[in-house]
Symmetry: C2
Subunit: 491 residues, 2 copies
């Protein structure tokens, strides 16, 4: 270490004119990426959380509620994990536990963990890049049981959550910078972020708030025509069902129309179905998969459908698990997908076994069934009742209207923002709904995402919040009081 004596950390002398790495040296396209769900608001919320943790009493609240993201198990929301899932995961981490702690694990869990170990071996090894073959078989069975149509394990790709799969597919479909993908407005901003990252164009189509955020073929056709007129080549149609941020569910008829539209316009259908198990009024608003509709119609439309363990009742976001299924896709394309995912080696094994637990829950009569049933029923019921209560209370506020979501984890209320507040926001260089959301965070510690992060009709303002907070009365009370105060201050 000949130089060790000569340092000065606090005032490093640079011998050359070389500067630290700055933005101008980097891919300019990436600076276009926007992801409001973890953007300015979420970063500020983290700072408030740190401030509270360090003992500060300077804020007008004593906790931060992160309603910006569907993250059920996070601190403060604390939705408990499904015991069955975690028991299998614990045994997969340390298989000897079954012997070391006899009687602690139910017998079906012990048998399941043993079966998985037999198939996978250590979860510390890379698996097949497409995911453990045995788990893909179980996913295919789940899909064929759900839809009544066969599913091939070779068409299933396990992923690190749905996002990883969506990003990959967008990368594949953007053939050149004039290529575009139809995305709903409002949308989950992963889509525009991935499009920006991969040099593609977003082709927006509007959802209709006045009819419960319904999707109309006419609106998509309009988006298509406009895109073509602007020199954009449409490659694919993104549908989020149940919707995010809207929580809307498509009818079977609309789905059939959308499939036909994809046929007419040679579009790949990207079906984001991660909320398929979050249904608050399933009798009136059931879930039907696009795979089923495509097969029923005997349609040749290429379909990629995404699912995840992060949502539903499992809420296992941190495991990073999910899958996509390819339908009407050639063997060569499947081989290309395989090659691309193989560069990343494999999806996390903890996520893969999480997928297995999701697609193979305990059956009636098995030792773990009763607890599993009770836990999942409780989560479903709490989410449904909170969603209803929050929608009712928000709708009762002057200047707020809110479609009561029949699915997913969110509400997306429309808010009236007084003109003076709009002006103050513009003066501060902010979108008016971001201005509103920042004021909400400052006043209450509740972090939501402004509607401008998802896209909305010109001149309208919304925000998205999750329906995951356990103390819903206190929570909605804070939202109400803030809205009244804000309207008064700026009205």
């Amino acid at each position: 270490m000949p130089l060790l004596g000569s340092f000065r950390h606090s005032s490093r002398v640079f011998r050359t004119t070389m500067r630290p790495l700055t933005l101008d040296a980097l891919n300019p396209q990436l600076q276009e990426v926007q992801y409001a769900v973890r953007g300015e608001l979420a970063i500020k919320a983290e700072l408030y959380r740190d401030q509270l943790k360090s003992g500060s009493h300077d804020l007008g609240f004593d906790k931060v509620i992160s309603s910006n993201i569907g993250n059920p198990q996070q601190k403060g929301l604390d939705q408990p994990p499904i015991t069955f899932t975690r028991q299998i995961a614990a045994l997969s981490e340390w298989p000897e536990l079954a012997q070391l702690a006899p009687g602690v694990f139910p017998s079906d869990v012990v048998a399941r963990a043993k079966e998985l170990y037999h198939e996978i071996g250590s979860i510390g090894a890379y698996s097949h890049s497409q995911g453990v073959p045995f788990i893909r078989k179980n996913v295919a069975k789940f899909i064929s049981d759900r839809d009544g149509f066969p599913s091939d394990p070779d068409d299933i790709f396990l992923t690190a959550g749905a996002s990883a799969g969506v990003s990959l597919l967008i990368n594949m479909l953007i053939t050149d910078p004039s290529a575009g993908i139809l995305i709903p407005i409002p949308q989950y901003p992963l889509y525009t972020a991935a499009l920006a990252q991969h040099h593609g164009r977003a082709i927006p189509y509007l959802l209709d708030e006045s009819s419960g955020w319904s999707t109309s073929v006419a609106s998509i056709a309009e988006g298509l025509a406009k895109a073509r007129a602007e020199g954009t080549s449409p490659k694919a149609l993104v549908i989020i069902n149940p919707g995010n941020p809207t929580g809307a569910l498509l009818t079977r008829d609309t789905m059939a129309d959308l499939v036909k539209l994809c046929e007419e316009h040679s579009l790949v259908l990207l079906a984001d179905e991660v909320y398929q198990n979050n249904l608050h009024r399933a009798a009136q608003y059931p879930f039907t998969s696009f795979k089923k509709v495509v097969r029923e119609l005997q349609s040749p439309v290429p379909l990629v459908s995404f699912h995840s363990i992060s949502k539903g009742v499992s809420g296992e976001c941190g495991r990073r698990g999910g899958y996509f299924e390819l339908t009407n896709v050639s063997a060569e394309v499947r081989a290309l997908v395989y090659k691309l995912v193989s560069v990343g080696l494999c999806p996390p094994l903890a996520g893969q076994i999480g997928v297995d637990s999701m697609v193979r829950p305990p059956k009636e009569g098995e030792p773990s069934y009763d607890m599993w049933k009770k836990e999942t029923d409780t989560i479903h019921a709490a989410l449904a009742s909170r969603t209803r209560l929050m929608a009712e209370r928000l709708n009762a506020l002057p200047g707020v209207s809110c479609v009561e979501s029949p699915g997913a984890l969110y509400l997306f209320p429309k808010i009236n923002i007084p003109e003076k507040a709009v002006k103050a926001a513009r003066d501060a260089g902010k979108e008016p709904d971001a201005f509103y959301a920042l004021a909400l965070l400052d006043a209450t510690g509740i972090c939501v995402v402004p509607g401008s992060g998802f896209g909305q009709k010109e001149g309208e303002w919304h925000y998205r919040l999750t329906c995951l907070c356990p103390g819903v009365e206190e929570y909605v009370g804070k939202l109400e009081k803030f809205h009244v105060d804000f309207t008064e201050k700026w009205g």
Copy 2:
């Protein structure tokens, strides 16, 4: 379901001329991606494994040995996981276990798991996109203890293995299609794969086999000059230390020269240091980090250094965990990195707690220390002795020469391939070393990666194999017999 009666799955009638999705509809750049580590050989090995599993006796071997990838815990290699790591992981999955199975977990493990739970909450929640702050603090302490220079937790990004980080950085550094990155030949093919995916150019520089695969500044300068003459703008220099596939270690003097070269040519230094804990002859070939050298030289060179839990003695590939550290990088760039990783939400929590166990192993005197020491010593010793024995035996074969790697998990022997075999390979449209490796797989069930997958000097042939197989005598015996038979057949 009005159409349910009318299906014929086996002979679907397409009403339109729309075809299943085919390659011509996709991003052509992605078809350039090559990743030999999980390529043709590995796919064929999987088929053989399936065939054996289904009871076939038609093959000339009774097991497949996957020596194509550094995957220590895979079936057949079965390097045991570190107990300490897995006990913490099991308790993180199901925290109640500490009470339900009293006395099963050592007290330091229970305390550690409790501390992690206090900091993280449920591992089923998304964490901070950059990784759990507490774990980043521990990583920073590990780095500063290792190097004797401070490390800032805000400069640490936890990742899903090193690959995810490398791919992101390459995406950021490729500003336009004329941008290039210097990569060693031979290289780990992640680099060329990521460059192909992100439309960048590889600028090769040759490592010198005759001096133990050393890296020379002259060779890099030559690569730079050639690239500039061809209109390529060099952006960064990739160094893999210890080397992959070579296992070579850089001297402190060479490292200093490389840092100076980056200064002169305004290059970002990408230091792949994932094998820093795989040192077989550490007294003669110690590891020094580039962070340390950059700080000792008080250099302004922007440095990104990558580490992983997949290698070292932990071999926890399936968890997908790792980190990178940014040095001499502006706050704006750090914010951009944060934004990009936030789109993928967060690295897997199982990988993050794996990183924590790697950077905070048990200390002498703690209950878990003795077992941890014994387990890790055993793994280090086995790897070192296997590497030596395999290198000796391969070097004793006619037409084979092999640098005895002082680090990493691999050997990269040079093989002489008889002219007739070269011709037969060319006739079959294959690289001669791929032809050799396929014949090896067919004859023995041993899967290696041809040197052409990593790059090599024109007219030379190699293959990479891991030194992970437990029954090393039998394993190396098969390699020897095959080589003799092959040489005889084609000589």
